[in-house]
């Protein structure tokens, strides 16, 4: 063997491994889509007779997933920036009651504004504590989960707050535009805007860079503290809108609305292929993650499983999907 040949073969080695690993790994990114299609076909065959494929049922799935999907879009940003937000469910609950109470006291527009203020305040506090004081978001938002839901329960004395404004209810969640439920439109708007901003704007790129390697992002001149603050603020605001969607759909505000949504949203985000450790995220993936969860919930109900069985199967499917999609 001559020197030049051996040198060349070394040169080629890294390239070869790059392309082979790419080929070997890339499909994992599409696990969510593959999984979605497989589960869909599975239910279509198995539950075709129980009306799984009927337009009403499919629309139902969409409607039921919409709120989680909206929350999960915000969560995608948080997780992409290598943070977590456990308070989204209770922000939704708090926003639903604050909106409902303000509507009956002051009218629709002040009501909506009050709901948004809930998101800005809670999200802003989360963001400030995490980015300025450096407290882990897991702890901050875990604490905030309790604070927000406690506040909601306290100011309402645990009582549901009815919303009598048809305008509000129609706009947020109860109405239809043509054949399409307004809830679904809300979700579609959030997904489209979220996907565009994360993948195609400077802000989105900065979020990914902050989550991927904070030090590198800092050294590149990105204000990573601001990014961390902003994603938590955004997530709070998005959650407060989700709370109004609950309020509109159920025509009332109640502290339990959104209870446990943080976990469904996180599951949707991770199922969708966003890295739990930050740095890579996709909103479209998140949408399919949420749809997959909705699909499974719906299918299990149609299949006649009781709620305890549903929980077991749902949990197992989520673990399986994440295991398949995991990157190593």
């Amino acid at each position: 063997m001559q020197t030049p040949t051996s040198a060349q073969s070394i040169d080629a080695a890294p390239k070869r491994t790059i392309s082979t690993t790419l080929a070997g790994i890339d499909w994992r990114r599409y696990v969510i889509y593959i999984g979605f299609v497989v589960v869909f076909i599975f239910f279509a065959i198995l539950l075709g007779n129980q009306g799984f494929l009927s337009a009403t049922n499919l629309l139902n799935i969409l409607r039921q997933t919409s709120t989680i999907m909206v929350i999960a879009v915000g969560m995608t940003y948080v997780i992409s920036a290598a943070e977590i937000d456990l308070s989204v469910g209770s922000i939704a609950g708090l926003s639903s009651v604050v909106t409902a109470m303000s509507i009956s006291a002051f009218g629709v527009v002040p009501g909506i504004a009050a709901g948004l203020v809930v998101g800005v305040v809670v999200g802003g506090i989360n963001g400030t504590l995490v980015s300025l004081l450096g407290i882990p978001s897991f702890l901050v938002t875990l604490g905030m989960l309790g604070v927000a839901v406690g506040t909601a329960q306290w100011i309402t004395n645990s009582a549901p707050q009815p919303i009598l404004s048809d305008a509000f209810n129609n706009m947020f969640g109860s109405g239809n535009i043509g054949p399409v439920p307004s809830l679904v439109i809300w979700a579609a708007v959030f997904v489209a805007a979220g996907a565009l901003v994360l993948s195609r704007t400077k802000f989105g790129r900065q979020v990914l860079a902050t989550g991927g390697n904070r030090k590198a992002a800092d050294f590149t001149g990105i204000n990573t503290k601001r990014i961390k603050f902003t994603v938590l603020l955004l997530s709070g605001v998005v959650a407060s809108i989700a709370g109004m969607l609950y309020a509109g759909r159920l025509q009332s505000g109640r502290f339990q609305w959104g209870d446990g949504d943080e976990l469904s949203a996180i599951a949707a985000v991770i199922l969708g292929g966003t890295s739990l450790f930050g740095g890579s995220g996709t909103v479209i993936g998140t949408m399919f993650g949420a749809l997959l969860i909705g699909l499974i919930n719906n299918g299990l109900v149609l299949a006649g499983l009781d709620s305890s069985q549903q929980q077991i199967v749902r949990g197992a499917i989520i673990i399986l999907a994440v295991a398949l999609a995991r990157r190593k």
């Binding site: 790059i18 400077k202 390697n213 590198a216 992002a217 050294f219 990105i222």
Partner: protein, 502 residues
């Protein structure tokens, strides 16, 4: 480009961290189109000086001039605007983004709608790489690329921002021989374009090959700046170390290990994964074996398999004649093995923990006080290790991440040598370590062998390998192709030829 105007000049720079002075009144200047080497012992302040130029730290006093004008470099962004780019000792790319996305991170080109135009970024990245005359795929995700490509991406990133001055902090530390050659060729081309390069390195041969002038720092002060044509390596080394060292990297014939006794370690037909194939060799007590081979030849993988990190597929390992099951590092440690890994930040240290805690981690058994750990004993033991290895640290209770690169490496070494293993495997033990300490480390290793321990050492630096090994195993494609006693290797070149397979 005016020959009398310096591309960058630093005047009277001083810096201290929490009252500990790191730099004192340092002057430093770089001309346009010059390669300027910056040398000094571990912790001398090289990286800190460059981080000040780069806007990462603010100096306590002193000023910086770019092209003759005083500029305030208050942030990394300001340094970039002034045309200063850095290739960091620890890389500063986002692994989950692509090469092109990294190059234009935070400087993305936008289309009319204000959205990022990634295809434009790819096109421009391709242009930059073409200018550099290297081949890198702008679409590749950085996490999947090897170190050499990371570095090229970093250089491209700096060039994309029109850097006139490039700072390279130990750029060859993790490069293979041919990658180093490619980097040197690239440096030559950049220089021809009038770009200045500040080159930090502990390797004398590299400095002489590519640098025009050298500045030596010692204990945070500038010792001298000289053209390399007017200074000898001995003078430089003396400047760095502060004293003359003689014959530091030469082989010392040691008492031959008794090859007729039972070997300490015997490896028979060991295969693991795709990178270790049918490896057999023996190691006797008191013997030092060097593993020579190109980057990627499987030396690190062999070490990992022996230490129980990678699964052994076939073959067996005998320790003092008894079959050993090395299925986990825990078992390997119990069997008397120790591995000092290649990548210290990743595998060798808990970066957020204190220097002391890191040193004591494998030694917790020795500092017991009944069921509890004795803080007193721990302190004493850690202090003695710090002294033995000349770790430059003013407070062992502070996080190890605050140490200079070379001092972190010393902590890793001290940590494992403290465990008193029978068989010690060292993977590139002196990467990033200064010249004075390098010879001290080699002396320590020799002393351990003299005590009857067996040593396996992996090194890409041939002078070091030849200085320490009693036998050299040449590894290629995962197999040991030659087993040569030290006295049969004439010199570095002879070994290099064998490694390359001529």
């Amino acid at each position: 480009m005016n020959a009398t105007v310096n591309a960058v000049e630093m005047r009277g720079i001083s810096k201290s961290f929490n009252g500990v002075t790191v730099l004192t009144d340092v002057d430093f200047d770089v001309r346009s189109g010059e390669v300027h080497a910056l040398a000094g012992g571990n912790g001398a302040g090289k990286s800190t000086l460059m981080k000040i130029m780069q806007g990462v730290y603010q100096p306590n006093s002193g000023e910086i001039l770019v092209e003759g004008e005083v500029v305030k470099i208050t942030s990394i962004q300001a340094a970039k605007t002034a045309g200063i780019g850095m290739v960091f000792q620890e890389f500063s790319l986002v692994p989950s983004l692509t090469v092109a996305q990294n190059i234009f991170l935070n400087a993305e080109s936008l289309n009319r709608a204000g959205l990022i135009n990634d295809s434009e970024a790819r096109r421009r990245a391709r242009e930059i790489f073409a200018d550099m005359e290297v081949e890198v795929d702008p679409r590749a995700e950085v996490a999947r690329l090897g170190t050499a490509y990371w570095q090229l991406t970093e250089i491209a990133k700096a060039l994309a921002q029109n850097a006139r001055v490039l700072i390279m902090d130990e750029p060859t530390a993790s490069l293979a021989k041919h990658e180093t050659e490619a980097l040197f060729a690239l440096i030559g081309r950049l220089k021809a374009r009038g770009i200045s390069i500040i080159y930090i390195s502990h390797r004398m041969d590299e400095i002489y090959r590519i640098a025009d002038r050298i500045t030596v720092l010692r204990d945070g002060r500038k010792l001298f700046t000289e053209p390399l044509t007017e200074i000898t390596p001995e003078q430089i080394i003396e400047g760095i170390v502060g004293k003359k060292i003689e014959g530091q990297l030469s082989y010392r014939v040691r008492e031959a290990a008794e090859s007729d006794t039972e070997p300490l370690l015997e490896v028979r037909g060991l295969s693991a994964g795709t990178r270790v194939k049918e490896v057999s060799f023996t190691l006797h007590a008191g013997e030092i074996i060097g593993l020579a081979g190109l980057m990627g030849s499987g030396r690190t993988e062999l070490a990992r398999a022996l230490f129980g990190i990678d699964r052994i597929d076939s073959g067996e390992v005998l320790i003092r004649g008894k079959k050993a099951r090395l299925s986990s590092p825990q078992r390997a440690i119990n069997a008397g093995l120790a591995l000092i890994p290649e990548d210290r930040r990743d595998q060798g240290l808990v970066l957020d923990h204190s220097v002391r805690d890191n040193l004591l981690l494998p030694l917790l058994g020795q500092i017991g006080n009944g069921p509890f750990l004795s803080a007193e004993k721990g302190k004493l033991l850690a202090d003695s290790l710090i002294k033995q290895f000349a770790v430059k640290v003013d407070n062992p209770g502070r996080a190890v991440s605050l140490l200079s690169g070379g001092n972190q490496q010393k902590v890793v070494l001290a940590k494992w040598l403290g465990t008193n293993p029978d068989v010690l495997i060292l993977d590139e033990p002196t990467a990033g370590v200064d010249i004075g300490t390098k010879s001290e480390i080699l002396d320590r290793v020799r002393a351990l062998a003299d005590e009857g321990k067996g040593v396996i050492i992996i090194s890409s630096e041939y002078p070091e390998l030849l200085a320490i090994s009693d036998r050299v195993l040449v590894v290629r494609d995962g197999s040991v192709i030659r087993d040569i006693p030290r006295n049969e290797i004439v010199d570095e070149e002879a070994l290099q030829l064998v490694v390359q397979g001529v």
